[in-house]
């Protein structure tokens, strides 16, 4: 995201912008916890990207092998095998692909839809703003994951419906986060100047207003990725998300419940994977918040 924004602003402010992102990086590096979060998260992304090198999807991840069922962790199967003999490590590693890619796409879609709603509402104001934001209020009056559960329940449980459900339920948050700073920025002189030279509203919003209210948006997006990974896992745990045999951490935990008495390792590793991912994103999100806007520092 940072390269895109560094390139986006108009030419005169180019030099200062680069400086700003350099500053952010410098401040982020100073926070030990943020660096730990960043390193863990990068490693997780690498794990997700390189999963096919280590484990074959057809052979290791979804193929049923009953002779091998319910084996405790060993040198051959580091995290043991599940109730149909699949290697848990392979499934945990492949599970990161599902969780991360779905969480990223949900945040990207919600950012796009919610951001469009929020920035236009904030920029144009008036009746449009009022109507749109009241609708967002009503959506926000329904607890997010419950709305998602309802949508998936109505449309039927599969990955596409899961993404739709979570995008719909998280859009209002992004609309709100984007609208706030847009309200302030639209009043400043350079926006007025852009209007005066006849720039179109769309151009003003995308190249003058939005780049200047990125800080809260980036923080919200980082923390939202964590929230979405958790929501995807929770919905899959309830049987409303990614469907077996596809590997997903929440669904794996749900499957492990039956065997928890004698095969507790089945319930341990997928949960650990979720926790480490969320932890790294929370650390990174906190660090980014402090680095992007020292005034918000808590």
């Amino acid at each position: 995201m940072s390269e895109k924004t560094a390139a986006a602003p108009a030419a005169p402010s180019q030099f200062k912008k680069t400086n700003q992102w350099f500053d952010v990086w410098r401040r982020l590096k100073q926070s030990k916890t943020a660096v730990i979060g960043l390193v863990i998260f990068v490693l997780l992304c690498l794990m997700a990207l390189t999963a096919p090198i280590f484990f074959n999807y057809e052979q290791d991840v979804i193929r049923i092998n009953v002779q091998n069922r319910l084996q405790p962790p060993s040198a051959e199967h580091w995290m043991g095998t599940d109730d149909v003999g699949r290697d848990v490590l392979a499934r945990v590693v492949w599970g990161s692909r599902a969780s991360l890619s779905i969480a990223f796409s949900i945040v990207a879609f919600s950012l796009f839809v919610g951001g469009t709603i929020g920035s236009t509402a904030g920029y144009f104001g008036g009746v449009y703003d009022n109507v749109v934001m009241r609708i967002m209020d009503i959506f926000q009056a329904i607890p997010g994951i419950l709305l998602a559960i309802t949508i998936v329940a109505a449309l039927g449980p599969n990955t596409v419906n899961l993404v739709i459900a979570l995008v719909v339920s998280s859009c209002p948050v992004f609309a709100r986060v984007v609208r706030g700073p847009v309200l302030t920025i639209r009043e400043v002189e350079y926006v007025e100047a852009a209007k005066a030279i006849g720039a179109k509203s769309g151009t003003i919003i995308t190249s003058h207003v939005l780049p200047n209210c990125l800080a809260p948006i980036i923080v919200q997006a980082t923390l939202s990725v964590a929230g979405m990974i958790l929501s995807v896992a929770a919905l899959s745990f309830l049987g409303l998300g990614i469907q077996p045999p596809a590997p997903e951490w929440g669904a794996m935990l749900s499957g492990a419940r039956t065997f928890i008495r004698d095969h507790s390792y089945l319930a341990f590793f997928p949960g650990l994977a979720i926790m480490i991912t969320i932890l790294s994103l929370n650390l990174l999100g906190d660090g980014l918040r402090d680095a992007l806007d020292p005034r918000l520092k808590t």
Partner: protein, 308 residues
């Protein structure tokens, strides 16, 4: 003050109606005919027509919604598709369990969050602070369902101290309560700490110290009350999360509350039941937000003055 409360209560009506409209429409998006699902593939057209008539499904959708929302405000949530029981009755029967679970979670989080947050702020940068904040960080990163499974594994299967599911014994609520309360506890401990740290550096705290008050008295009388406002904001957000978390916690522990009722309703494609549970959750959520707003006035005299 009362005028404000009444104004807010009236403002709840369109919110609840709007939320119900959204959920109602989503439920009607679902493919397939509920009548065929309830009566089976070989039901006669007459039987299907009669069943649809009985559940009011032959009316236009907006009329159906109008009938439904009027019913909701009269306290009638309709009848279940599955066994024709009154949903109001079913929901009201389950609601005390969800309330009990939430209260248990609330006690866990409040009893731990404040001491942890305040002590880590007062002892900033010591090992106690480090340890507490590490625990809090783990707490906010832990998925509810995983924590639930681990607690069951350790305290009920290994040690046998608490039952692993159901709500029949006096100590049944302990594990679900801890499961649901931990996330809230962690988030509130973090906010309490940062808010206390901010307050401790203020001039009035220095004044209080310089006039010779003991450290404990400064913290109790001057710092905590001022640190409460941001904590209250997080408290409101977390209460909402508590409702959401209860759906998952109830599923893990087979706890007979509204959350589990809703998940069972989804599995049985009993849409009026799901809708009824959702309306109940939305109502709770709205009332909680109202109470939190009122609590601001209680804590902060400056806000109280605005309502007069």
């Amino acid at each position: 003050m009362w005028k404000y409360v009444i104004k807010r209560l009236i403002a709840l009506i369109p919110v609840v109606a709007g939320c119900t409209f959204i959920v109602f429409m989503i439920m009607h998006l679902s493919p397939g005919d509920p009548a065929t699902f309830a009566l089976g593939q070989d039901a006669t057209p007459e039987a299907i027509y009669e069943w649809r008539e009985m559940h009011g499904l032959n009316d236009p959708i907006l009329i159906q919604y109008a009938n439904y929302i009027v019913g909701v405000f009269m306290g009638d949530f309709g009848t279940s598709f599955r066994n024709n029981v009154s949903i109001t009755q079913e929901v009201m029967q389950r609601f005390p369990h969800t309330l009990q679970l939430s209260m248990a979670a609330l006690s866990v989080s409040l009893l731990l969050a404040f001491p942890i947050g305040i002590i880590s702020a007062v002892k900033q940068n010591t090992w106690i602070d480090g340890l507490s904040m590490f625990i809090a960080l783990i707490g906010i990163s832990m998925p509810v369902f995983w924590l639930g499974l681990l607690l069951v594994l350790f305290f009920s299967l290994q040690l046998g101290w608490f039952p692993s599911s159901g709500a029949n014994q006096w100590n049944s609520v302990v594990l679900p309560g801890i499961t649901l309360g931990t996330g809230m506890m962690a988030a509130m401990a973090r906010t309490t700490r940062s808010s206390m740290l901010e307050v401790i550096r203020q001039d009035y705290i220095r004044t209080a110290r310089s006039k010779g008050l003991s450290n404990g008295k400064v913290i109790r009388k001057h710092a905590i009350r001022n640190a409460l406002i941001p904590v209250l904001t997080i408290f409101g957000i977390q209460l909402g999360n508590l409702l959401t978390g209860s759906v998952i916690t109830e599923t893990v522990f087979a706890w007979p509350g509204i959350g589990r009722l809703m998940i069972q309703g989804i599995a049985a494609r009993d849409y009026p039941m799901v809708l009824g549970c959702m309306v109940m959750f939305v109502l709770c959520f709205a009332v909680i937000n109202l109470l939190v707003d009122l609590a601001y006035a209680f804590v902060d005299p400056r806000i109280r003055a605005q309502y007069r």
